[in-house]
């Protein structure tokens, strides 16, 4: 555990070192130095404008996350429990997952218009497929001996699902949720970058328009911090469900 913490500290130091080198090599017209970025980030955190944009992204990301988790888990469970439906859906889901969803954005904009619902829809379709695929796989991977145990105990199907199938599949489902939410954030931000009137992605593109390099770097840094926190939070939950201390 201790060396694990040390590794993390070393990794952070390494990232800052590479960043500083990049700054020295490329210059302030391309990227801000770590020190300048941290100062600018702290300044941004004190402006109301930043928080309006952060809230806008947060609401879009939160809503898209709920939709992609709910949809992905329900569809994944259903497909995982039904052999035939799963066999049919598996390659289709795989193809849709690997489809560059950016190509769908014009259509989504035409359906939803510029605003919250387009961002939410775009974020949700990014997260839905990996979560559905992971959940389906998780259910199919549950050890057959668990089914046999449930049947010998004469448990009704709903009880088997709730007390054995779902807990047995949970670590893998959570791995899917973790990857799904990373992509949901990506989708939400892409939505904001391309066509939007608020949000951190929008703020980023505005800063790019006026070539405010410290702002670009600081916003990117803050988004990175947020994404990394969400990821490690989900990773911690996932590890807890495995119970192998």
């Amino acid at each position: 555990m201790k060396s694990n913490k040390l590794d993390q500290v070393l990794l952070v130091i390494a990232i800052f070192a590479v960043w500083q080198l990049l700054y020295v090599a490329a210059g302030p017209n391309v990227i801000s130095s770590p020190a300048r970025t941290l100062t600018r980030a702290l300044e941004l955190l004190q402006t109301s404008n930043f928080w309006v944009n952060a809230a806008s992204t947060g609401i879009a990301f939160g809503t898209a996350s709920v939709l992609s988790i709910a949809g992905g888990v329900v569809v994944g469970l259903w497909l995982g429990l039904r052999q035939f439906a799963g066999d049919v859906a598996d390659p289709i889901l795989g193809a849709l997952y690997s489809l560059p969803k950016i190509t769908l954005y014009p259509i989504i904009l035409l359906i939803f218009g510029l605003g919250l619902s387009a961002k939410v829809a775009f974020g949700a379709i990014h997260g839905f497929f990996p979560i559905a695929i992971f959940t389906m796989g998780a259910v199919r991977n549950v050890a057959p001996v668990y089914y046999r145990t449930a049947r010998v105990m004469r448990l009704p199907p709903t009880v088997t699902l709730a007390t054995i199938m779902v807990p047995a599949a949970l670590p893998e489902i959570l791995a899917g949720v973790r990857i799904g939410l990373a992509l949901t954030l990506l989708g939400t931000l892409i939505g904001e970058l391309f066509a939007s009137t608020s949000g951190l992605g929008f703020a980023l593109i505005r800063a790019t328009d006026i070539h405010a390099v410290p702002d670009i770097t600081a916003i990117t840094f803050l988004i990175f911090l947020f994404a990394a926190s969400v990821n490690s939070f989900l990773h911690a939950i996932e590890r807890r469900t495995l119970h192998n201390a």
């Binding site: 145990t149 007390t163 054995i164 047995a168 949970l170 119970h243 201390a245």
Partner: protein
């Protein structure tokens, strides 16, 4: 010692798995007829793939026999698991998301038993299986042998009339297996349950059982049933009894011939 009208009665049971997608149908088992007395410890040995596990499958009601009848205490078993059956399998079936205590309490809670009674039974079973100090541990923190004990304890608390064991110690090392055998005998004596054990280990079968049924190569039929006449108070030390050798020799002689036939060298 054993009444002819058994507590478990197996009559002309066969199992044929239907062929599909160009594969021929497989006649896995039978016809098999057998009576097992209440409280008997009966083991089944046989060459690999002879249908031992299939027998357990139809006996437990997890699978349905193609022909023939199985009755437990006069009630037919026909593709549905009857009440009072407990089963432990070779694969680890401990629930990794529950600690040892909750694993053992699992079945009792599903029955809606009140918590004081659940606690009483679980604590007893944990103490009995030597798991008392591991109540809060999770399966991932335990050895394979300990996890199998958890599965046995989880089955034991449900007080089954019939305990079906499908090579439960198959994945364990020899020493652990002998010790688990002692535990199993103790459990069997204490609970009075009828035990049917599927195993590939002849010494295990010879040491634990009242009777050992030897199965033929597929389709599995009983070609010999050996009565051991061990006292009910036996333990793993019977392996040094002179008769132990003659029992395993007889089992092996029958099985060797059958196994050679199964792999086609005789």
């Amino acid at each position: 010692m054993h009444s002819t009208c058994g507590h478990i009665s197996i009559r002309d049971v066969t199992k044929v798995f239907d062929g599909h997608k160009g594969h021929p149908a497989i006649h896995a088992l039978g016809p098999v007829s057998l009576d097992i007395a209440r409280g008997e410890f009966f083991s089944v040995v046989g060459p690999s793939g002879c249908g031992k596990s299939t027998l357990l499958e139809v006996l437990s009601g997890l699978g349905k026999a193609t022909a023939g009848t199985i009755e437990i205490d006069g009630t037919p078993v026909a593709g549905a698991v009857p009440d009072g059956i407990g089963a432990v399998f070779q694969q680890d079936a401990s629930f990794f998301w529950l600690n040892v205590w909750d694993n053992v309490a699992f079945g009792l809670r599903r029955l809606g038993m009140e918590s004081a009674e659940v606690a009483h039974r679980v604590d007893n079973a944990l103490a009995f299986m030597g798991l008392g100090g591991f109540a809060k541990a999770y399966p991932a923190q335990l050895s394979g042998g300990m996890r199998q004990r958890v599965c046995i304890a989880r089955t034991l608390v449900l007080e089954p009339r019939v305990l079906l064991l499908d090579e439960p110690f198959g994945a364990l090392d020899q020493q652990t297996r002998l010790l688990m055998g002692d535990e199993l005998l103790r459990l069997w004596r204490e609970t009075g349950a009828t035990v049917i054990l599927i195993t590939h280990a002849l010494d295990e079968a010879a040491m634990l059982s009242d009777r050992v049924g030897v199965m033929s190569a597929r389709p599995g039929r009983f070609i010999d049933v050996v009565t051991t006449d061990w006292p009910a108070t036996r333990d793993s030390r019977v392996v040094s009894d002179g008769r132990f050798g003659s029992i395993t020799s007889r089992l092996w002689a029958t099985l060797r011939e059958e196994s050679l036939r199964a792999i086609g060298t005789s």
